[in-house]
Each structure stands twice: as C-alpha cells, then as structure tokens.
Amino acid sequence: MQWIYLIPALPFLGALLLVLASGRIGKTGVTLIGCGSVGIAALVTIVAGLQFMNSGQAGYVQHLWDWVSIGTFRIGMDLRLDALSLVFTFVITFVGFLIHVYSTGYMADDPDFARFFACMNLFVGAMLLLVLGDNLLLLYFGWEGVGLCSYLLIGFWYKDPANGAAARKAFIVTRVGDTAMAIALFLLVQHTGSLQLGTVLARAQELWTTGDPTVVLIAFLLLGGAVGKSAQLPLQTWLPDAMAGPTPVSALIHAATMVTAGVYLIARTNALFVLSPSAQAAVAIVGAITLLLAGCSAFVQTDIKRVLAYSTISQIGYMFLALGVGAWSAAIFHFMTHAFFKALLFLGAGAIIVALHHEQDMFKMGGLRKSLPGVFLVFLIGSASLAALPFVTSGFYSKDQIVWLAGAAAGGNAFYSLAAVLGAFITAAYTARMIFLVFFGQEKTHVHHKPGPVMMAPLYILAVLSTLAGFIELPHTLGHLTLLSDFVSPVLPGVVTVHGGVALEWGMQALTLGLVALATWLAWRLLAAPFPDGLKQFLKNGWGFDDAYNVMFVQPFVKLAKINRRDVIDKIYTGLAAVTRGFHRAMSATQSGILRWYVMGIVMGAVIILSVIIWREYAV
C-alpha cells in the first residue's frame, strides 16, 4: 500500500515525458509511455487494493509532504486509500488503460498523436489526485486539473473553430459550479478550520445540528460544484457540445470518469448532506428531473455521440437520485457499471464512426449488423446494459437498485420512484432506437475499413465487465449479495429502507422488464412514425436551455462587452493622460525663446506675488 503514491504519479510522469519528448520518440515510444504509465498505475491499484482488502483497515493515509503550512492551518500532500477511493481509482486506471489502448488504434493517423496522449495522461493523473486526495484542497486541485484536460481535449482538433467554442463552453459552464464549490471550501475552512476530509466531517457533526443554515448553505454550494462537473440541471448544457472531442476522450472524460466527479464529491462529503436534508432532497430532485429531461432529448438526437452524451447526463441523474435518497452505495454501484458500459458504448460508437469515415449521423448508418459483426455484438451488450435488460446485464442490477430505493429508501417517495421508472422506460426506448437505426435496416454508408484488434480487444474486455460487474451486488429477490455495499460501508452510511419491502422490489423488477420490452417495441414502431417537428427540434436542442442561457447571460454579456469595447472604464485614465498632455503643450508654448516674454513673465509673477502680499497686509 505504500506504493499508492505511484498511482497518480505515473500518469503525471507520463504526461511530462510526452510533453518534453514530443516528436523525438516516435509513435512506438508515445504508445509505450502513454499506455504504459496508466497500465502500471492500474497494476499498482490492483495490488494496493488487494493489500487494502486483506488488511481490514477502514482507510489508509499516506503522507507525502506538507503542501501548505500556515500557523495551525496545515494541508498535507496526503493520499487516502479507502473503499470509496479504491472503487473510483480502479475504474479510472482500468477503464482508462483500456481507452488508452483503444486510442492507439483510433488516433493512429493523427499528426498530434503525442499531444493527445500527453493530455490523456495528464487527465488520468489529475483525476486520480481528485479521488485519492485526503483533503478537499487536493480534491479541488484534481477537480480543476480534469477541467483543464477536458478543455484541452474537447478542443483537440483546434483548427475547427466550432471545437474551440465547445471547449470554451465546457470550461466556462463548469466554472460556474467550480466557483460555488470554492466558496463552499472557504466556508468549511472558516468554520471547521481544516480541509482534511476526516477532520471536516467530524467537526461538522460537532458544530452543526441537522438543518443548520450554515451547513445547508455549504451543502448547496457543494451541490453547485457537483452539478457543474457532472452536467446536471441547470448546468448540463456543456456536455452534448463536448462531443466535439475525439471519441476516446468522450468515453474516458465525458462518460466514465470526469463527469462522475460530482457523484464522488457528494458521496465523499455525505456527512454534510446528511446534516442538511433540504440540500440532499435537492440532489434527488436535480437527479430525477435531469434524468427525465436528458432521456427525452436523447430520444430525438441524430448524432450517435449526442445520444450517448444525453444518455450520460441521464444516467448521472440516476446516480444523483440515489445519492439524494440516501442510497449512497447504490450510486457508487451505478457509477461503476455505468463507467464500464458507457465506455463500451462510446468506444463502440468510435469504431463505427471510424469504419464509416467519420460519419456520426445515425440516419446515414444502418445495416451495420452484417458488416461489423464484432462491434454489433459488443454494442448490443453495452446497450442491453444501458437499457437495464433484466438478469443478464450489470446495468440491470445497478439501476434496479436505484429504482427500488428511489421509493423505498428513507429519503425516497413516489415521485422519485415514478421518475426512475419512467427514466428506465425512456432509456430503453432511445437505446433500442439507436440499435435499430445503426445496425438494422438498409446499409446506407459503406464500411471502408474494419477496426483492428487493438481497438476491438478493449471492447471485448469492457463487454465482459459490463456483464459481470453487476453480479457483485444482487437484489433481495435474486440471491441478495451485497459485496460492494459491504465494502464501502466504512465510508458511506448504509441505506435505510422504510417504505415497502421485497414485494415492492419484485413489482418494480417486473415493471421494469415490461417497460423495457414495451419501449423496445415502441422504438421499433416509432422509427418510421412522424414526430411533431417543433417538439422534435425543441427536445433535440435540449429543452431550449442553450437558447435561454444565450438570451439570459451570453447576449447581455456580449452587449456589455460591446459597450466596453470603447473602454468606458479606461476613460478616466486616458482622460488623465490627455489633461496632462494638454498642460504640457501649454507650458512648452511659453518657452518661445523670446527673451522679452520671459522678462514679462517674471514681471507679472512679481506683480502678482506683491499684490497678494500687499492685499494680505492691508485688506484685512
């Protein structure tokens, strides 16, 4: 376990080497460093994880050095390995490694091969620091680091201005949330005097009673940060545009890892949310509404990557819903399975896109079942998992748990249940629509080259994981296995079920099964059916959020900028300069060189001074 510092250090080192040696080590060297650093980090994670599980500790903290030390306020460069961070670290390094391997195939022809892997390694390092950091400042450091990498990689093909705009949008929109989070951290320092996770959470319980306004404010601000990073309502608008980046980036950053940082943050600071029930309810409401809105938008998209982007927003909505009702481990479980199957879907979509010569429009695909049978198989497995096909997929077990707990947990109610079930229905519908459009029907674009083994191998591994990962946690009705929730129980409070019991769960499962079947059938029927055009456009544009923000924030800002183009504020300073220059001109005009004018000047001066003196002496 003493090697855990290597886990974030290796990708950082890889990024540094790739930046310094760019262009000098050739493609093989870049591949070795880029994939190797993450691969070794994954191995270290597995070894450290096994040691950790055998040791039976609740958490292992490694102190590397003092980062900040001012009086009694100390921030250490400390890494923390516990159940929660281990799950995240495992997913980040392992899925990250697979995506790196896949990228060597996907990006093979790109002239900026080394830059791509440098950014990817930097991202993995920052993300690992985010989840391994033992204090909130280190977490924030990683948080901003992944934001930077997200920006760099969305705008990776920077020659197209649209990509640059998408990158800026992602950066600026998440910045809104980051600001809220920074304020939350300031408040925590002010009240608890520390940012060290254990201290903060322990002090919070001493300082505040449940519902204290301060802790509620802090929890809401943290939620703001989480909402920005995880693309939840109302800051979800950046994620669909973030698909401008290369597909492996979408898989790694905008599906599997970075966007779930918000889930991690809320799970990590669960004690604060338990102390503020209104903030926790807000988490659930945000999740419930987001999962429905994004699901509906996914149903009408034509770009395959945008379908998956909206699907990601929707699935993270499920995680937020789980966090909000107090089903902490269910959210982490869904995070894990989602990382596997969504990475699989994105990489599968990438394989299709490359095979069709960068065609992303699903209506120009079709009939790929025969020409790309391998991709079809893994894509089907991923889709089944996303749609929560009962009993055989991991998505079923994780989502079923959330659907059940949305109603049954202490914070749950019928509205959440309804949203979750409806969300499952919509998910199945848009997933089925995607499969039908891409793989069935007439072939519309010819497959020009098939993905090689270096791209297919990660897909197969992820397909296996998408299926098997679900079996570590089985519902009451089917064997009742609780490996994951037992594992994370030292860090996350267990779920308290109050409403309904096993009967309700049976009912929910049967309902989900029925709805998935119905949704698939409906998607098949609706494929050809006309859809009201206005509604379609409205949904496709993500419920008009972009337009609303454009009118509310962007346009006023642009207007202000236009006014200030003439530098209204600078007028004071330019005015001061102009006055000075005017005086200078007037003074230098007196230097005429004509002696008699000088004499006149002296005389006038003397007269004035004398007049003043005389006036002062005699006038009073």
Binding site: T590, Q591, S592, G593, I594, L595, R596, V599, V603
Partner: protein
C-alpha cells in the same frame, strides 16, 4: 529725514520701472544689458536709502556686493553678446530664439 527716505525710495522705484520698461521694449541686446544695469542700480539705491534710514551699515555692504556682481555680470554679458553677434550678425534679441522649449 523721513522725507529724504521717501524721496530716495520713490527715485529708486522710478529708476527700476524705467529700466524694466526699456528692458521690455528694447530689442537690442546691448540696450537690454544697460537696462539691467539701471535696475540693479535702482535696487542698490534702495539699499543705501534704507541703510541711511535705519543707520545700519549692511545696506552699503550689500551695495558693494551688487557692484561687484554687476561688474562680473557685465563682463559675462558682453562676452555673450559678442558671441551672439558672431553667430547671428545681429544684436536683435528676438532673433536669438532658436532654443524653444
């Protein structure tokens, strides 16, 4: 005694103003130099009158200083005038206005 002082000061004032006026209206540098001398002597006269009024020797001492300074000033001034004449072939002070600010 009082009258003498007043008259002396008025004479000094008239002399000073005369020198000043000729300084302002004359363009010939030699005449301007002479005007400066008149003004200096007007100031010297005021010192003498004041010294006589108060019965103090400092006024006469001050006039000696002024005389010495005036002699030095005239010699430097004349040398400058010679140089100006060499350069410009004229004694018009307005012509010597090339060094504007």
């Amino acid at each position: 005694m009082m009258n003498t002082t007043m008259e002396g000061l008025v004479l000094a004032g008239i002399l000073f103003v005369l020198g000043l006026i000729s300084m302002l209206i004359r363009r010939n540098i030699i005449f301007m130099l002479i005007s400066v001398e008149i003004m200096l002597n007007a100031a010297g006269l005021a010192f003498i009158v004041a010294a006589a009024r108060w019965g103090q020797p400092e006024g006469q001492v001050m006039f000696m200083f002024i005389l010495a300074m005036a002699a030095a000033e005239v010699s430097v001034g004349l040398a400058l005038i010679l140089q100006i004449y060499h350069q410009l072939k004229t004694l018009d002070s307005d012509e010597a206005s090339k060094m504007r600010g």
